[in-house]
Amino acid sequence: MKFALYCALLCAAFAAAELRGAVIVRAAQHANIPASVRSSPGGYRSYHFWHAGFQGGK
């Protein structure tokens, strides 16, 4: 009975996670871009975002 309740809660938690678009492992690097960058023309182009640092190749 306890396990049935546990499973029911798990189903509810899963549904909530799906509704919110949650991910388990966050791969994205979060940052806040200053308003000055947003307001300047070409600001997004020149602003230094996080880089993955590709090595490439086989």
């Binding site: 499973c7 798990l10 899963f14 791969a27 979060h30 871009i33 490439g56």
Partner: protein, 629 residues
């Protein structure tokens, strides 16, 4: 027909048409019919005390057919055990048979002549399965009996020195047969019938009126002179409670068999009375037994119980109890020694076979025990049941035990205090895990189905909100910005994917999803690459022309996508002029699904492992210790 005894003149009655001989009540001469005359063939000894409840003149009925006991034969094994009783019965219909008493049951058999080919005695051994006509039976015992004495009428001429060879057989339906090979030179006869309760034969309330079978009697210990009261008159062995001498109770005076050692106090005291199921039982005997396996002695205890239905047992090993009832060997079918057995439709797996011996005895037993006696014990288990055989020379006896906890035994016998603590896992102890695990698997499968359906439902809502060609830089790096696009109905997951036909080259994409209103950004990076070639004559390839990244819980707002590619190719490589990048909202995200399924199935898997562990512990002390082999 009534005649006069040729020895003393006393009247001798022949009530049975098939009766050939009779014993004179007055002078105990055995007389045989010879035409119209009676011939005296000699005197027979006095009757010996047994535990029989029956007597001459007793009337009963089986399936509406009435009978009268008109004769009584007492036999014993040639090896010298105590006598047992066989009653010669005459039916009102004119037929006749034998009514034998065996540990609280009756065996009613009739002579049969319809089976033409009977096996020879030398071809039989205990435990063998044979065909008698169309019936398959199990040979329970192959042995020799000797005439002890008789009373009343008999269907043959008795002889005080006569021995009889016989084989007792049983079948799975309670059928019983005796192949009577008689004395050397005699023809073989077959008697068959079935096991009955006294009530089935209309004899439940019959008590001998002759007082020849008192309930219990007393004897004197020849070792210490103590008076020993027997609870059951037919007990053949008794241990003196004063000096621990083991006595042959069939002899008067009692004969010393051995001086026992040990003063163990049985956990369940002798004389304790209790009820197991419908049976009222009393503890009348106790034994400590052991087997020697790989140089290690393993001890267990056996309590002999007696009640109206005969003898039963309680055995205990390491605090695990079994309530044991004897069963006919014929009920055990499909026996493959050391592997498995079938009984009453249940399949049992072999647990252990070992030579067991008696170490210590208290109270009384219904058989004459041999000191140092070793018998081959084999156990087969189908928890909570255990099927056991004991093979001793020409006899194999089967019993079936059902697991009981110490608390159940204590409650049944109204014992105070706590029973001995159980250790480890009992051979027939029910594994409590599978039932719980079965329910858990059911619940888990139902929950997993719900989760999968939810996942399918949510993934159906996915929608592409942006497709963007990202030109590749001819040299150095080039940043591409998408036009602004709206995300609404969130928060929600967003998948950014890319595809490009790369050959012997790689493209790295640094992608940032920027909320143009709040400035919040999430940056991800992924790589497209594809290489192939030949090595050692075999083609190989690696990499993928597509890639993706998922950003979770993205709030509503106006967004731009910033893509910054970099690339490299080999001399023979090829890079496309642009990469197609797409943004998809509410994609299928595998992580939560995998986590949910893992958490759902974790508990059933833990239970399964615990159930396996329980079985491994059960079988660890068996002949098949690796997972029950």
């Amino acid at each position: 027909m009534t005649s006069a005894c040729p020895n003393c003149g006393a009247p001798i009655e022949f009530a049975g048409a098939q009766s050939l001989a009779a014993v004179c009540k007055s002078c105990r001469s055995a007389v045989v019919r010879s035409g119209a005359d009676l011939v005296n063939v000699g005197k027979v000894p006095d009757l010996v005390a047994t535990g029989s409840k029956l007597a001459l003149g007793a009337r009963g009925a089986v399936e509406g057919k009435t009978f009268t006991i008109i004769g009584h034969l007492q036999l014993s094994r040639v090896s010298g055990d105590a006598a047992w009783d066989e009653w010669y019965v005459s039916f009102a219909s004119g037929s006749w048979g034998w009514l034998a008493e065996a540990q609280g049951h009756l065996l009613l058999t009739h002579p049969r002549t319809d089976v033409e080919r009977l096996p020879g005695r030398d071809s039989l051994r205990a435990g063998q399965r044979i065909w008698l006509g169309k019936e398959q039976l199990n040979v329970d015992e192959v042995n020799d009996a000797k005439f002890v004495t008789a009373e009343g009428e008999l269907p043959y001429e008795p002889s005080p020195f006569q021995t009889y060879r016989y084989a007792d057989c049983s079948d799975a339906k309670g059928g019983f047969a005796t192949i009577d090979f008689g004395s050397p030179g005699d023809s073989t006869q077959l008697f068959s019938g079935r096991e009955l309760a006294y009530a089935d034969a209309g004899l439940a309330d019959f008590q001998s009126i002759q007082g020849r079978h008192p309930e219990g009697h007393a004897l004197t210990c020849p070792n210490c002179g103590a008076n020993i009261g027997l609870k059951i008159v037919s007990s053949e062995s008794v241990a003196c409670p004063s000096c621990r001498a083991l006595l042959d109770a069939t002899q008067q005076p009692a004969k010393l068999l051995a001086q026992l050692k040990g003063r163990t106090q049985p956990a369940l005291p002798l004389g304790a009375k209790g009820r197991i199921g419908p049976r009222e039982l009393e503890v009348i005997g106790w034994m400590n037994r052991n087997v020697l396996i790989d140089g290690t002695n393993y001890w267990w205890e056996e309590y002999l119980l007696h009640g109206a239905a005969g003898y039963r047992w309680l055995t205990v090993y390491a605090g695990h109890w079994l309530f044991v009832e004897p069963i006919a060997g014929g009920k055990v079918t499909g026996l493959l020694e050391g592997a498995h057995a079938l009984c009453d439709g249940r399949s049992y797996r072999h647990f252990q076979t070992a030579m067991a011996r008696y170490d210590e005895i208290q109270g009384e037993l219904y058989w004459r025990i041999e000191t140092g006696q070793r018998v081959q014990c084999a156990d087969y288990v189908a928890p909570p049941y255990m099927l056991s055989s004991e093979k001793d020379g020409g006899e194999i006896s089967w019993s079936r035990g059902e697991y009981m906890t110490g608390a159940q035994v204590w409650a049944a016998f109204q014992q105070t205090g706590a029973p001995p603590k159980a250790h480890g896992v009992g051979a027939a102890q029910p594994n409590p895990i599978p039932a719980v695990a079965g329910r858990s698997w059911g619940i888990a499968l139902a929950a997993a189905s719900v989760v999968m359906l939810l996942a399918l439902g949510f993934s159906a809502r996915k929608q592409t909100v942006l497709e963007l060609p990202v030109p590749m830089p001819d040299a150095g790096e080039l940043v591409t910005l998408s036009p602004p696009f709206e995300l609404s109905g969130g928060p929600q997951a967003v998948r950014i994917s890319a595809r490009a036909a790369v050959q012997q080259a790689w493209i790295g994409l640094d992608v940032a999803l920027i909320n143009d209103e709040s400035g919040e950004s999430d940056a991800v990076g992924f790589e497209l690459s594809h290489y192939e070639g030949f090595e050692g004559g075999e083609h190989w390839s690696e990499g993928s022309e597509s890639g993706q990244a998922i950003i979770g819980s993205v709030p509503d707002g106006r967004y731009v996508l910033r893509v910054e590619p970099e690339s490299q190719k080999e001399a023979s490589g090829k890079l496309p002029p642009s990469v197609w990048v797409a943004v998809e909202r509410r994609p299928f995200v595998p992580g939560p699904l995998v986590l949910a399924l893992t958490l759902i199935f974790l508990w059933p898997i833990v239970l399964w492992i615990r159930g396996r562990r329980f079985e491994q512990r059960r079988w660890a002390e068996s002949d098949h210790p690796v997972g029950g082999g």
